[in-house]
Amino acid sequence: MSAVALLLKHIAPRGLLAALVVGLAAFVAAVMDGEARRSFYQLELQLAAPTAIDVQVFWDQGRGFSETNSVHRTLTAAPELVPQRFPLGTGRIQHLRLDPTRRDTAVRYGGGRIITSMGRVLAELPPGNIRPGNDIADLEAESRQVTIIPTRGAHDPWVHVPLEQPLELRYGLREWVAAGGAAFVIAFVVAVVLGAIRLGGSRRVILGHLQHLADAWPRTTLGLGAILFWLAAAVSWPGPAAMGLDASWHQALSYFREQGLQFGRDIAFPAGPWGHLFVYHLLEQHLVGRLWFEFLGKAALSLMLLVALGHLPLWRRAVIIFLLIGSAALILDAWIMFLVSLIVLNVLLRPDVSRTLLGAGLVTITFLGLVKFSFLVMAGAGTAVAVGAALWRDDRRRAAWIAAGFVASFLFWWMAAGQNPIRIPRYLRLSLELSAGYGWAMALTPSRSVFGVALAALAPIGWFLWHHLRTTAARAIIWPMAATTAGLVFVVWKAGFTRADGHVMIFFFYLAALALALPPLFGYRRAFHFLDLVPLACLIGVWCFDDRMTGYASRGAWYRVQNSISQWMQPGQAVAQWKQTAEAERRRARLPHELRDRIGSASVDYINYEQSLLLLNEFNYRPRLVFQSYSAYTPELMERNLGWLQRSDRGAQFILYDHTTIDRRFPTQDDALLLADLPRRYRTVWHNEHLLLLERQAEQPAADLLPRKLHQRVGAAFGEEIPVPMMPELAQWLSLELRLTRLGQLRSLLFAPPSLRIIATDLEGRSFDHRLIPSIARQGFVIQPFLQNLSDVRAFMEGKVASQLRSFRIEPAPEHEEFWHPPIVQFHHLPTLPLQEQNWLEVLTASGITNLSADAYEAPFRPEILQEAGRTVVQVHSPGRLRFPWPTGASQLTATYGLRAAAYAPPSATDGVDFVVVASTVDGDQVELYRRPLRPLDRAGDRGPQVLAIQLPEDGNYNALELVTDPGPAGNADWDWSYWADIRLLPPEAGQK
């Protein structure tokens, strides 16, 4: 027998060809893995720190240091040096920089090297070569290591890690082939074994045997599949409480559950009453219960998924499970949405499914429906179609069974979550309101490539459904299925592409799995269908979104399996570690004692989204209805939050106010009504550079909807500069009539609403480019005074105007011009908010910056009270002048001065400022008492705060003392963010001391 004949006897040629295709696909996938490319070159540093600390490594590719070319890493406390690897990407690297971000912790450094992921060493970095960069007190050299000691109170400590010569890091053809080759070989071999090798002369290849085995032992196959999915995708070890936007609402959901708050009455949020079971961060008291759910509940869901995959061919089930495992490593919603869809399509809509399975399906989708409102929309709509389809088939009993089952099951889960059924209508209405406004406020536009691939992936699905609608004979079965599929895909499309950040992966993974399931669900019997190409398009879409994601998905799944096994094998140790991390996070979030004492056990709320700060400090958190301000994005939600604040039994005693927002929104748009009402009802009792603590006033005005008096209404063109009325004694409210064109309406319906920007210009000519949320702009927001930062808000709370806008213009986002009609602008007074202009010279004294009242201020920009290097400073932009009346009786002047660190951190590049003290006589003569040029770019010693102490002349006919910031000999004032602080004029005895 010839070799070829022997080969043909045991190898199926078609299988061989298929294996080749699979191998090539794996080759392409591996080559496409951006993470492998980025981490091919690595910086390995030997580091140790006595406590957990974040470090950041920057590399300069010729354009200075930037966040883009940097990587963060958290070091755990370790007594000995530990190698830490930082991916470097590719390109020509000229300089390296190491930032130990905790200013109070010394870090030990034992040198490093630049290597490839294969271990090849490209450069050695001896420990003795490092040089101080900024805010470094000392570098203590020991044997073969250096201890980096930051300056006390340092703002931004870092050290240079010099390279002997620039390094060219290239990812060339050899690297490409090496990365793809291994993947090709593995995938090809596996595919040949499964799809091409015949056993014992049988015509059936191994995959066929496996299918045969799966058919013979369906329950075993089901169980194995469920265990695999549970282990690799469903189950997850929750994370401890932490800070951040997502972490905050994660923990808040836990907190609401613990407090028994009612959704619809007390809380309005896209997640439902069971949402806390599917979030990552949770409060410690829920850990045990959550672990049980992960163990049992997720196992049940995994089993349901496998049951619902039911009669699909083995290879389709396997690939779907593989895809969902990959998706779970990146984003949770894809597999849950797929599970809901599968139950609807393969259980509820099938006329031949047993009632037991039908019941299990209804119990599952109603439970998931109370996890997130979008899941409820899918489940509810699918159930409604299933009822309609059963009625079409004249199967009234089944229709009644499905309808009753859904309602009963929904009620069961609702009440099991401790919710009152009477709140259901309001919960649904508020959830719809949140959904309706979501796109207006949260939409992000995807890249063209991602959008294009998504449409390309959708097209075959659309064609498939259309084809079946037209050609089927079994209309009562196929038409409801096609309509439901279209509806479900539309919901997932909106979920994925309205806020097209990582959410797009929900869509791609969901669609990939659905495309594999659809042919058999619609009765297609042959092995392959053109929809089987859709997953490939979806993976390309994921790759277009972020070329690291395909790699993350596979590696993430593998890590998940490893972690799951190790953590479930030693749960005690895992729980102990969890608690240790939670405690560390609590310590990190600890607020000052003064603040904690002030709040005590009184109720407190948080504006805007960092509610975790309250929970980690174990305050008596009393959330408002829409508890994160950026989510109060429709007029109704804004009004409800305002009403909440105004009710004495609802509004918290304290509010911790944080003037942040998301997506570069205009700063007063979040919870705009509530923000404007704060000065009437609360007063500032504490503040630092990030937070204000507001206390509820004893006297509360009557509840109202913030009376506004229209005084100007003008039509404006996009891009037209619109002057803001200058009436500093009255707060101004801006509302906009914004109408979409029909094309805009179409975009909004099918995709996401278009975006708008507002570019505001203040009195000093500075421009501020913000996103404008149309749904909030229709209701309106405070435009004057301009509350750009926390000190502006602080002044606003005291009835003062710290900053004013001269004008603004509204522009559609680039390429969104076609979607909008020109706006109509309406200015209103807020008669309940009388204001007066801020006297900056008084503020300088009140904030403790100086102990003598200044009588004049001159600078290109208004003074800004800031926190810099741990102290309160006033920025006097050069060329600037702060004048005091001559301090009779004082003999010494001390002051702190300097340039803000941001002025010389790339891309900023101040050429320096001269700090001068001048004494002026009544005749106009000036005597220079002190001059110090600071050149922080050139001299490390000129960075950070500097101190001056000078004796004042006793004789002379002086009438004024001036602190001058001079732009230097070149006269260039760019980035001259100069400041003064701690200005003290001391009497003679104090000077002598």
């Binding site: 064109t741 029909r742 094309l743 805009g744 179409l746 011009e817 076609e818 979607f819 009609h821």
Partner: protein, 440 residues
């Protein structure tokens, strides 16, 4: 050949709906009376005055050589005694005839009543035709379309129903095509489109194809003759943008861009009263139009395709010619009201195919089909006719009352810029024209 084109009863219904298209004129008679001479009309009248009527008829105007149009319009202007409303009436009569011929063409080619009647009202009554039907110089479009439709009906009847090759028929065909061709510059397309109609292989191919195709090829040749003559005249004598086709690539790309915008946006953009403007909108309407055309083509019977191919060719040809001739006026003019008429004629038969499909369930009850179609068309038509008033109020103001007042009643009109739509004409010259023709 004596067999009627459609059953006699059909003529009555088609005639009624053709008359229905006069509703906007009747409903807004007072406002139409307010209209006054505008833009190019002043120039034409002055040329008649300066060069004499017959010399003017056979002269070029830009790239236009349109003696047939000049005969009708110039004759109408002279015969109406300077009354603008006289020309308006001629224009609307031509419009009603065109609508009638449009319906006749559809019925002749196998369209059912729902599609035919709704297409007739959508051509006859939408206010998107305001400029075409509210400015008499636009008789150029209506007359050209009228002769195109007449030629298509005759050509179809003669060559596909009776198939004679008699000289009399050739003479009639040449007359109708020539009348259309010499009515406006886009008339060069009339003959080409009808030639395509002759050559469209709706009967399939057989082994003895030449005996069947010979008369068709000959007819196609006859159809081309007027177009070739007009093309040569334009190339040799006329001034216009066609001389820039072999110019810089920028001009060519702008011509193609204009053509694409024209083809995509018309007629649905104005018919749906769309309110956004830009490339996205253009692509949206291109997709919409492409879906309508492709879907209708797939549903159409071979007999219907014979006319659909003529119209799509005419639409594409118009887009190209307008791209060449008007690109310099900027993209916003690509969906000008004056261009809706041709686009409607070319696109509505496709819509009619879809409408017929939508009402296919009525085919079992022929009488019910006619009644339902008539009621629907009547309702739609009246709704469309009622929309004219708001637009005519504005139109008749700046196209009629204001210039009339300025030129005939104002005691001291400005010396220049008083004649609307033609800024170079001085008031003195305008007054000379007014006085000579007693313009009212």
């Amino acid at each position: 050949m004596n067999r009627p084109i459609v059953p006699r009863a059909d003529y009555r219904l088609l005639g009624c709906f053709a008359l229905l298209s006069l509703c906007p004129l009747l409903f807004n008679w007072r406002l139409f009376q307010d209209l006054y001479w505008f833009g190019d009309e002043w120039d034409q009248l002055e040329q008649i005055l300066d060069h004499g009527f017959w010399s003017w008829v056979f002269s070029f105007f830009g790239e236009n050589f349109a003696p047939m149009l000049k005969l009708t319009w110039g004759g109408g202007a002279l015969l109406s005694g300077g009354h603008y409303i006289g020309l308006v009436i001629i224009l609307w009569i031509a419009h009603a005839i065109t609508v009638f011929l449009f319906g006749l063409l559809l019925r002749q080619n196998g369209f059912r009543w729902p599609g035919t009647l709704l297409a007739m009202v959508l051509l006859g009554l939408p206010h998107s035709n305001l400029e075409t039907l509210g400015w008499t110089i636009q008789l150029i479009t209506v007359q050209g379309t009228l002769f195109l439709l007449a030629a298509a009906i005759y050509h179809g009847h003669v060559h596909f129903e009776s198939a004679p090759t008699h000289r009399r028929h050739v003479a009639w065909l040449l007359t109708l095509i020539s009348a259309g061709t010499f009515s406006y510059v886009r008339g060069v397309l009339n003959g080409a489109a009808l030639a395509l109609m002759s050559l469209w292989p709706d009967a399939g191919w057989s082994s003895k194809w030449w005996p069947q195709w010979r008369p068709r090829v000959i007819a196609a040749g006859w159809c081309f003759i007027p177009a070739v003559v007009l093309t040569l005249l334009i190339l040799i004598f006329a001034q216009g943008n066609h001389q820039k086709i072999d110019g810089p690539a920028d001009a060519l790309s702008r011509m193609l861009e204009y053509a694409f915008w024209y083809f995509s946006l018309n007629p649905f953009f104005r018919l749906l009263e769309w309110d956004s403007w830009g490339w996205r909108t253009t692509w949206l309407f291109f997709v919409l139009k492409a879906i309508v055309l492709v879907w209708a083509w797939r549903l159409a019977a071979p007999r219907q395709r014979r006319i659909l191919i003529v119209l799509i060719a005419f639409d594409l040809g118009t887009a190209l010619l307008l791209g060449i001739g008007r690109y310099h006026t900027g993209l916003p003019s690509a969906n000008s009201s004056r261009y809706q008429y041709t686009a409607l004629v070319c696109t509505l038969p496709f819509v009619a195919v879809l409408l017929d499909r939508l009402f296919v369930f009525l085919t079992r009850w022929r009488r019910a089909e006619v009644v339902v179609a008539a009621v629907l068309a009547l309702t739609t038509g009246l709704a469309l006719a009622l929309q004219w008033r708001a637009h005519m109020e504005i139109w008749s103001g700046w196209r009629g009352r204001e210039p009339r007042h300025l030129l005939t009643e104002h005691p001291s009109p400005p010396a220049e810029g008083a004649v609307p739509g033609i800024p170079l004409m001085t008031t003195e010259r305008a007054k000379r024209v007014i006085e000579h023709y007693d313009l009212q």
